[in-house]
Symmetry: C2
Subunit: 329 residues, 2 copies
């Protein structure tokens, strides 16, 4: 009896040791770099050992954890939301052609309006309500809206290999964070359920809010004014502000993540791990880099190659991209 238990325990622990923590990653340099880094980081006595409290891992969201084509998903929400609001309040469209385009679902018209037009759409759709009401609205949208080309729910458009990476890092006592140019309150609606990342570990762009209190309620209300734009050099600034520690692992996919990767890479006597996702798979996902208006990647890729950062070639390094494609393989 005891022997049986011992054998079982041994077999079980062997199984655990041999199980591949990253089954959607094909064997290759990217995968082996990640595995080596994590194994050394958790091995006491190893020169590359990192104490658990310092195991901070940060990830961009759009194009790194979920897709960002043919346009940022949050923009799809904003446009749907303006359309919904205009039904009850058609006056909001008067004298603003970009809101009119949004209400008609005319994405090209919205995009053609440039930066100011986009800010108008975000302001109209993201402010003038409590944070709680905003989150409820996003939740309802996620439960009903569908991605324009795949037909999937937006929260199905997450990269299966990255979900595995998040779990693998957490299993090794890394604390995983999102550091996104997208909206902090938007991402918090699904980050815990989809990525296992709680709201307090989401960092993102934000608009201002103000506190409103009555005898029975106390709420933060979202205002139509930018507070912080969490992109490019804003990312390391926001990481320092929210976390107060330099990450030891960072993942991104565009030049908007370049400074966050530099901040992680140049950790003094403890250089961190910089991971750059390169969108190379026009069949299963999209292929784009330099010159793309969404997720443009140029300088960060050049530096990644110069400094030996780990570049993921999505087409070759990932066995699966989306979990809904699993059946097709």
């Amino acid at each position: 009896m005891r022997l049986a238990i011992l054998i079982f325990a041994f077999a079980f622990s062997m199984g655990a040791a041999l199980a591949d923590p990253l089954p959607s990653w094909r064997d290759g340099e990217a995968k082996s770099n990640i595995l080596s880094f994590v194994r050394e980081a958790v091995q006491p006595g190893n020169p590359a050992y990192i104490v658990p409290a310092e195991r901070i891992a940060v990830f961009d969201n759009d194009g790194t954890l979920w897709a960002e084509q043919p346009f940022y998903f949050q923009l799809a929400y904003a446009i749907d939301r303006v359309g919904e609001m205009a039904k009850n309040n058609p006056d909001m469209l008067a004298q603003n052609p970009v809101l009119e385009a949004a209400a008609e679902g005319d994405m090209q018209g919205v995009l053609a309006s440039g930066h100011d037009g986009l800010l108008d759409v975000i302001a109209a759709s993201h402010s003038g309500m409590t944070t709680g009401d905003f989150k409820q609205s996003v939740g309802e949208w996620l439960a009903s809206a569908r991605h324009p080309t795949s037909g999937q729910r937006y929260h199905q458009m997450v990269y299966q290999p990255m979900i595995e990476l998040l779990v693998y890092l957490r299993d090794n006592d890394f604390k995983t964070y999102i550091v996104s140019g997208g909206g902090i309150d938007f991402i918090r609606v699904f980050s815990e359920q989809v990525y296992g990342i709680p709201p307090e570990q989401v960092i993102g762009s934000s608009i201002r809010s103000e506190f409103q209190v009555t005898e029975t309620t106390a709420e933060t209300v979202k205002l139509p004014e930018l507070f912080f734009y969490d992109d490019k050099a804003g990312k390391p600034v926001a990481i320092n502000h929210h976390i107060g520690r330099r990450p030891v692992f960072a993942g991104g996919n565009s030049d908007g993540d370049h400074q966050m990767l530099q901040y992680t890479d140049r950790g003094g006597d403890r250089p961190g791990f910089a991971l750059l996702i390169h969108h190379t798979d026009a069949e299963r996902e999209w292929a784009y880099d330099k010159g793309s208006t969404i997720g443009g990647l140029d300088n960060a890729l050049t530096e990644a190659r110069e400094r030996g950062w780990t570049v993921v070639d999505m087409k070759n390094d990932w066995r699966t991209v989306f979990s809904f494609q699993l059946g097709a393989q």
Copy 2:
């Protein structure tokens, strides 16, 4: 043998159950309110049960976790720092009487300069260096400076009953945060060692910073410009921004904490626990409330009494204030 182990295990668990988690708190309403709230919050099936992920507890720092008299400790750092800097760069004092007063350690002169003068002192002492260099400077100061009346190190000026409360909450799977009007980077230097609160759970006021990168370094550098003032209505806004959840427990001591207590109190169908520390002990600490220029307490105390929040009478509710007074009792 087995029986001995069983008896030992039983005795040990009884001891743990009977041990007072708050030995520096005298029996009374404040202590029993806290104990009841926590016991119910962690009891599955209890109507007041709170799932662990939602057990967010927030605390003001100055006057709530450590003392704030005769002036905020961070101001003492700023003044010492200006004096230090002026030794190497006397020109910085020219044409600025408040910096001159600071360099001479003339606290009354600095305080007399009002809000703008204080900002000058903070700007001069807190910016123009990397975040890392700033933290090192604060650490060195904490290791050498002494409180003007007690003669203790500043980080000895923490309230023993509040340390016990933080530990008790964490033992019950609450996540403890600091939400302070003081500087976020300043508090992060000692919060982990002194309070067991890691840097990522510190929220505070902040100045802007910018990212600077070279071939070998990547740092955030502190700028002489306010980014966020984390006081009054700013506290719930910052809590929502950093944590993205409404706290279920909040502790404060001044009108600067009033809105944070309201935000926690008015949690809809799950009202949170609001704790207000009242400085009533002129012998062991200081006695002050309404009209104090530091830690003024008026409206929050009125609302606490109206709504039945838990008010701590330091003189009567706390057996010990500072741990360095323990021997004297």
